[in-house]
Symmetry: C2
Subunit: 134 residues, 2 copies
DNA sequence: GTAGTTGCAAACTTTTTGCTACCCA
DNA sequence: TGGGTAGCAAAAAGTTTGCAACTAC
């Protein structure tokens, strides 16, 4: 499937500029309000559309778990997960929690770190098998 | 502030059982539908309330980024974040991406891992300072 | 007995989408 | 000029909440 063509509009330009001009990891709504100062007619739908485009183009990151709803885990122990980029399935990983990561992060940040959450993205065995056949 | 007292109702019991009987990291809606097979009068609001209770009691995990909305980052390079558990602020961490983690995860899972996302939870310098004074 | 919990429905929040006019390449 | 994009508003999807009846302790 051919990649959809993308245009650089002034809205998109402003949204990207706003996002790059801050280190605060803003929400879509915050970006909307900032960008509106420059383009008063901007609409929120346009912000969302452009954020999605920019994300697909690899120009920005979205910091979310990937879906709009929460998933729950009956195991309250900290453990790692792998999300399949093909089918979206979430699997537990049988691998020990790397405690040293907290220590390293604490040095990097200079204040207390209590724990971390780590998610891997890849293919689940089932989807990998399917890929092999193509 | 005293901890609110919690009761074990049959709804809560069933919700927890359903969640513990699967490894599929279900959504609230899936849990609702499963639990409804046992308690036909169950309502979705009750499921959400109990999931939140169970989470606060530390009996289950919620796999989400912590808020109901997405945050965006103008830096598309993979890098780590620290979320302040006091004020919710998200900061970039100046620490190299640990590539070996992908390798370890790949061994644990037995199929391809492409990348990972790592978030630390702790106190930002500002909130840590405030804590010191108490 | 009483304070926490339920079921129900309405409200809320964030995000997506349908449509027409518009404008970038 | 043609097809992706903007603005607007309505809809969707997930989650929360107010309330009266109920129930666990």
């Amino acid at each position: 499937m051919a990649k959809k063509q993308r245009r650089m509009t002034k809205q998109k330009r402003v949204i990207l500029d706003v996002l790059r001009s801050t280190t605060s990891h803003p929400t879509a709504d915050w970006i909307y309000n900032e960008a509106k100062k420059i383009l008063p007619n901007l609409s929120l739908g346009t912000v969302y559309r452009n954020l999605n485009n920019l994300k697909e183009e690899g120009k920005i990151l979205e910091l979310s778990y990937g879906s709009t709803y929460s998933r729950f885990d009956g195991n309250p122990e900290n453990h790692y997960h792998c999300v399949c980029v093909e089918c979206g399935k979430v699997a537990d990983l049988d691998m020990p929690v790397v405690e040293e990561l907290d220590k390293k992060a604490q040095e990097a940040q200079g204040s207390s770190i209590f724990y971390h959450r780590l998610e891997f993205y890849g293919l689940c065995p089932h989807c990998e098998e399917k890929e092999m056949k193509n």
